[in-house]
Assembly symmetry: C2
């Protein structure tokens, strides 16, 4: 461990905020983004951890994100919340809209929130987990960039289109999953490319639509959905309900707006929250216990619940702090210094000036 630097969660949070602020993020954005990255690092999701400081600051540098956007919360209908992110990162819009979503879900039984016009680089599980912490059941969906072919085709239409779900568990962490509707995460293909390793033939197609084992060719061509036509149907659903349904872009529109800059996807996210007390009244505990019976039936046969590895990493991190490779820690400090030396670009191409409904027509 001599080439690791151990940071407490508070130290990691403070460092991440400092880097983000140095790169021009408004303090409230920096706090919201840092919290998400530290949660990822804490849970052993290093690809969604502090590594994302590089991604987020690159998005600032490329001008694809508005670092000081002021999210606008509105109520388009009695059970709906909309947060217009004004071209900033999605974390602050989520936290700005969360209290109203929770209030509406508890008042109406079910409610939904759209995050519009926001830049997405993070996993969805911290968001559904935040809703489960309020005792709610939550689903979240987001398109991203058109990198994924539909089943039966070879040309990109969908994003990796993750779906996340959280279910509150009495006296312990919620049941949470969060998965892309692709065979494999895009980051894994990127890792194969960097390592010069071939990828399995079922991961994707090259730009000509041929099967390939070359990682770069898949990145330049099209990834495949998981589970054949069923995963493809899910990916289509997520495009529709977290794109057009909420007045935001499809993955094809988002990548067209990006115009080759390689920025994080700009667009929408749909979150649905359901209050167990809505249908169950005073029988919530009784029925949550039936969920526990199901979990026991899964774990009792040696199968693992989704999220188990993440929660184990969390316990380890809470007990021992975060062990950051020394070289990566040095890279973060270097990034901090560069940020301090850096004059941010104006957020060109972000839709910072749009009002009200996300303007899905941008770039089309």
């Amino acid at each position: 461990m001599s080439d690791s630097v151990v940071l407490s969660l508070a130290e990691a949070d403070s460092l991440a905020r400092e880097v983000l602020e140095a790169w021009g993020l408004a303090p409230d954005h920096a706090a919201a983004v840092a919290a998400t990255m530290v949660a990822g690092e804490r849970d052993g999701c290093t690809s969604h951890g502090l590594y994302r400081l590089l991604v987020a600051t690159a998005s600032v540098e490329k001008g694809v994100v508005n670092p000081a956007a002021v999210p606008e919360v509105s109520e388009p209908a009695p059970a709906l919340v909309r947060v217009d992110g004004k071209g900033g990162f999605a974390q602050l819009p989520f936290s700005k809209g969360l209290p109203l979503l929770v209030e509406k879900a508890k008042a109406k039984g079910i409610a939904a929130m759209a995050l519009n016009n926001s830049v997405h680089f993070a996993a969805l599980w911290p968001e559904v987990e935040a809703l489960a912490a309020e005792g709610l059941v939550a689903l979240a969906f987001t398109p991203n960039h058109a990198w994924v072919a539909p089943a039966g085709g070879t040309k990109p239409v969908f994003g990796t289109n993750p779906l996340a779900f959280a279910w509150p568990r009495p006296g312990r962490e919620p049941f949470v999953f969060d998965f892309a509707t692709t065979v494999i995460a895009r980051g894994d293909i990127e890792l194969h490319r960097r390592a010069g390793k071939p990828v399995p033939e079922d991961w994707g197609y090259d730009a000509q639509g041929n099967p390939t084992t070359d990682a770069k060719s898949v990145l330049d061509g099209a990834m495949r959905t998981f589970g054949g036509h069923k995963g493809s149907a899910l990916a289509a659903m997520i495009e529709l309900i977290a794109g057009p349904l909420i007045g935001d872009m499809t993955s094809a529109q988002s990548i067209a707006v990006d115009a080759g800059r390689g920025g994080s996807p700009l667009g929408g996210e749909l979150i649905i929250a359901i209050d167990p007390a809505g249908f169950l009244g005073d029988r919530v505990d009784e029925y949550l216990a039936h969920g526990e019976t199901m979990f026991a039936a899964i774990e009792g046969q040696g199968a693992r619940l989704p999220g188990t590895r993440r929660l184990a990493a969390r316990r380890e991190s809470l007990a021992k702090g975060l062990a950051i490779p020394a070289a990566f820690h040095a890279e973060i400090l270097d990034l901090l210094q560069k940020g301090k030396d850096h004059v941010p670009n104006p957020p060109q191409g972000s839709r910072a000036g749009s009002n009200g409904a996300g303007d899905g027509s941008g770039g089309h």
Copy 2:
């Protein structure tokens, strides 16, 4: 075609209703159930078509369904509808609750309906399609009987747990899919068993938890979820949100209540309806057109949209009527006569007497 009998949709509907009424179904139940079966037959889903007359009447004969249940509609929260099916078939409860679900979705932006304490034998697509016909986006979920192992395990926990989705399309049939979260439909395994054909090794396990290619062993053992741990996570979500969340049974509870009678699953269903006008206001047409662009990008590369085959069969049926194999038509007439000669059992084991929330504790 000399060994086919061609029925118009109206004739098929009338025949189905007559059979169901002969077996003791109340006229409103018979009408709702017949409409669903004829829709399945019309769309070429013969396994969910008139064939289900045999299944439904067997459920009546076994006493697992209350043939004259009077569904009770209630409003547990401003955006929630509950229909207690009182142990009857799910079709009538759905149609009784539909107007209120539509009204709530349009008033609140999003709404959900639980069908409780109902016997399920049909596909979910007719229901989400009915919501899309009202201009709404719809999702539906239901557990059934514990026949399916979680990823990493070999013992049944989940049902085949279908998920259905519908998206309205301007001037044409909605985009609809409906799939089980298993590798293959249970009916396909049954067909292999009847034909004495081996099944692929990835379809399931025998009762000892070993891989097998014997269809009957899979039926007596456990089916597998599609898409590995992702399909398994989805199946778990569907158990939770269409079981405990709505005060109804899990698939394990449902099969325990069935107690080996081989009846159709008794339990719950969750339907979520979202009004596009909720987030989009007067821009619905503009954003639905973005959905059409996505569909064109899928079909333009030769990939097929889910539901395409079903809609083609529908057009054929509307033009030419339903061609029923003569032997099967004779079987239906025989079933009709048997029904007329039949004295229905009292609905033992159905939860016909329960009130309010479905009582998931039955049998446990």
